[in-house]
């Protein structure tokens, strides 16, 4: 099937405004008759629930944490982009649009990206009005810093905790609506199924994580803002509870999964210290404003104290390879370059899996106090984890899985191929193409939640009669029975290996064979080994306790079961895409180490339709057209 993203046509500058006018409206007095479910309360979900509640819809919001304020958007450090052009350095909506299309290696939709760039400025205004304490200069104006893949300073920030402050802004707006009664908040609930009646999304089945009870909720539209899936690599910068489960359950009910092979490996994370490790910690890309990345030129210097390696024997490889962007090369490129140095035997630290991020020059130029003011909390965090002082010796960094550009397929209205199912933020695939630029995730989450879904959901709801299906419908009962059956099965296996052991094994396969570099052969290894591991899981996993209580092992077992199915799809997508683009690097397709796209054969969104566990999914294509930014080799040299 050829998929249609239903993007508006005509001059790109007018697409969103024209589309907003063309969308049908729901009369203010009728809005309260519609129920909307929002799953996930990060930037996208929190902003959506608050804004839809304010418009007058009846919103039910869900999160697996104990409070909507804890979603993993909170961990984003560096900043949020907007095309304000406050520094007068040549920025514009068009430049943000252009940088994002190019940064995504020409694998995103032009119209969606244009809209994102257009509403980016509203986001900053909105957050300021909420009381988000963005950094300001001494005159009282908003301050900016630079991020990768751009030659203008367009990133707004709140120390090293921008995600936290933006999320707390959305949480405060959500709290206001909860108090007003327009949003009903359900915390400690995990979505375990999407309920589809006659091809239309009508509700969800969730597990109450405290009592273990299955609960049904019906609505006229369901919004998934359930984040990304890079915990499929086991070790990632995601929170422990981040999973593919909600998206995978929707996929199994018919929603297409688009571009799962586009995964972002972030270049600056604290290297792994041991096998017991449960997660990796990111250090903001903003550090590359003032930190210089290097490895020793000579292998024999790798074991030395970094301060003992003379200047002439250091290879500042990003500055050498990409002189015009230097240390601020985009993430995919910086990560691959780090791997290349380490593969060449010039990595530092345990196992030679690390590169230095050195602040000595900046400290000399600006003083330690200025660096502390800019990044103090990051240096503190680094020291807590590694016991090393980043002001005195260069930090050690290594790339780690961080973000999913791929996600559920949506059209321009953020609606999936299942009518009534909308997907927001990282959970969808829409704007980042094959690589996301720094400080663009926060922008997308809030754009979708505050400024896109409030309009586009109305266009859908205006065409449906409210309250047609309630939870007494047979499909809801069937869904609860199916979920209960799966839970009983997991509890009844009583095998020999723990859930963590399986997840670690799956993550190892994914990182080794489908990580920063992939090949036909390595992917074929995974396409054999993952189904075998899945079979072993269903025969040999050990989950203690019962389903009728708070049971974290059971929660993790369910998430792992889904990752064991999803991991195969990710590898299959990577296997079919015989080109390299952005975060998807197939070793067979490169030009002197740079990704080599194949625009003749692969300039499309690959959206997969589920056909059953272990069965080959069906690929649907949405061709990508570039009328404004011309397809070109992406160069940061």
């Amino acid at each position: 099937m050829i998929l249609d993203g239903k993007c508006p046509t005509g001059p790109i500058e007018q697409t969103w405004d024209k589309h907003r006018f063309d969308l049908k409206l729901v009369n203010p007095a009728n809005k309260r008759k519609y129920n909307v479910i929002v799953v996930g309360t990060g930037l996208a979900g929190g902003a959506a629930a608050a804004s839809l509640g304010e418009l007058g819809y009846n919103v039910q919001a869900f999160c697996y944490q104990d409070s909507p304020r804890r979603a993993h958007s909170i961990a984003a450090q560096g900043g949020i982009n907007a095309a304000k052009n406050y520094p007068n350095d040549g920025d514009s909506i068009y430049r943000l649009f252009y940088d994002t299309i190019k940064g995504g290696d020409f694998r995103a939709r032009e119209a969606d990206v244009w809209r994102l760039a257009q509403v980016s400025n509203n986001i900053i205004d909105q957050c300021v009005a909420q009381g988000v304490p963005f950094a300001r200069d001494y005159a009282g104006y908003l301050d900016n810093r630079s991020f990768g893949g751009a030659q203008v300073s367009r990133t707004f920030f709140a120390r090293g905790q921008t995600g936290q402050q933006l999320l707390l802004g959305a949480y405060s707006a959500l709290s206001r609506q909860i108090k007003l009664g327009t949003v009903k908040m359900y915390d400690r609930r995990e979505m375990l199924d999407l309920v589809v009646v006659d091809g239309v999304a009508r509700g969800i089945t969730v597990r109450n994580l405290v009592t273990g009870e299955m609960e049904s909720y019906s609505a006229d539209a369901v919004c998934l803002a359930t984040g990304g899936f890079v915990n499929v690599f086991y070790l990632s910068t995601n929170a422990m509870g981040c999973s593919v489960t909600a998206n995978w359950k929707a996929h199994k009910k018919g929603a297409f999964f688009a571009n799962p092979c586009y995964t972002q490996i972030h270049p600056t994370c604290i290297p792994q210290a041991g096998d017991y490790q449960s997660k990796l910690t990111l250090m903001s890309e903003s550090l590359r404003n003032d930190g210089r990345v290097w490895v020793p030129k000579k292998k024999e210097d790798c074991g030395k104290h970094p301060n003992d390696v003379p200047e002439a024997d250091r290879d500042y490889y990003l500055e050498r390879k990409y002189p015009s962007f230097g240390n601020l090369a985009p993430r995919d490129i910086a990560s691959r370059a780090a791997k290349e140095q380490c593969d060449d035997g010039r990595g530092v630290g345990p196992g030679g899996r690390g590169v230095y991020l050195d602040f000595a020059d900046s400290i000399k130029r600006l003083g330690e106090d200025t660096i502390r003011e800019r990044y103090g909390n990051l240096f503190e965090m680094y020291e807590k984890i590694t016991d090393e002082n980043g002001y005195k010796r260069p930090m050690r960094m290594y790339p780690a899985p961080h973000y999913a550009m791929g996600g559920l397929w949506v059209d321009y209205n953020l609606m999936s191929n299942i009518p009534g199912l909308f997907v927001l933020g990282e959970a969808n695939f829409s704007v980042h193409g094959a690589n996301r630029l720094g400080a663009s995730a926060l922008m997308q989450g809030l754009a979708d939640g505050y400024f896109v879904i409030p309009y586009t959901i109305g266009g859908y709801l205006a065409t449906v009669k409210p309250g047609q299906v309630k939870t007494d419908h047979a499909e809801f009962k069937k869904s609860v029975e199916e979920v209960n059956a799966e839970q009983s099965k997991l509890l009844g296996i009583n095998g020999k290996k723990t859930v963590f052991e399986f997840m670690r094994e799956l993550g190892g396969l994914m990182w080794e064979n489908c990580g920063m570099a992939r090949s036909k052969e390595s992917l074929e290894v995974n396409l054999k080994k993952i189904p075998a591991l899945r079979e072993e899981f269903w025969n040999n996993v050990k989950v203690t306790g019962s389903g009728a209580e708070l049971n974290q092992q059971l929660e993790n077992a369910g998430r792992t079961a889904d990752f064991l199915e999803f991991g195969e799809l990710l590898c299959r997508d990577a296997h079919h895409r015989n080109e390299s683009c952005g975060g998807h690097f197939r070793v067979e397709y490169q030009d002197e180490g740079e990704a080599q796209r194949d625009d003749v054969n692969f300039c499309y969104v690959g959206a997969w339709e589920y056909k059953g566990v272990g069965k080959e999914p069906e690929l649907h294509k949405e061709p990508l057209k570039f009328d404004n930014v011309h397809l070109a080799v992406r160069s940061y040299k």
């Binding site: 944490q65 509203n122 005159a139 402050q165 915390d187 017991y276 997660k279 990111l282 203690t544 092992q553």
Partner: protein, 252 residues
Amino acid sequence: MSDHKTMTLTLIVWRQKNANDPGKFETYTAKNITEHHSFLEMLDCVNEDLIHTGKDPIVFDHDCREGICGMCSQVINGAPHGGQDRTTVCQLHMRKFKDGDTIYIEPWRARAFPIVRDLIVDRSALDKITQAGGYTSCHTGGVADGNAILIPKPIADEAMDAAECVGCGACVAGCPNGAAMLYTGAKVSQLALLPQGKAEAAERVTNMTNAMKECGFGNCSNHYECMAACPKGINVKFIARMNREFIKAQFA
């Protein structure tokens, strides 16, 4: 840096099946722990051993494991988050302990935080305080340009100092009165400092203070234990600011 000596520790952990169970301490041994393990990774190892022997693992709240989500919440040897300056449990590392140590692990204990299971408590009372007024009542869209109102850097910085609160509740757990004054004071101060929050300042402080009382939190008697326990180092001066705002509101 990477010496491979390991530690063996004795853990005395609060176990409680559910809210109605009286609960009790149980003793466990943590083996093969290195200085690079985080405290939660040490507990992960203990849990893996428990699962292998068919026992229920220790249940605890955690999520981001990088000190920002505010989910983790354990009293370690009597100190919320373990007593290391400006550190959440998830950022506490085992290099702070020695081989042979005995470690007591308990949940937050406060009237307003009922125990859910083992080390997990119900902190929804903190959400209720925010719902009472921890926001500006701006609408989505239709707001002024971000630079329309200038905010002097010292004011923006002080608001940010207050805004860093992660909502973990350690201040309540550390307070002998089980007060949520630091949590509430931080939000009241952040918004009272900023021009965007001033319009509703009086109503906000009144409503949030009332919510605090209704939720069963105690009052401040200046022990400053909250500041000592706070993983973000939120200063008690924000409690003083809240008190000033409250008094101002009575005359408004």
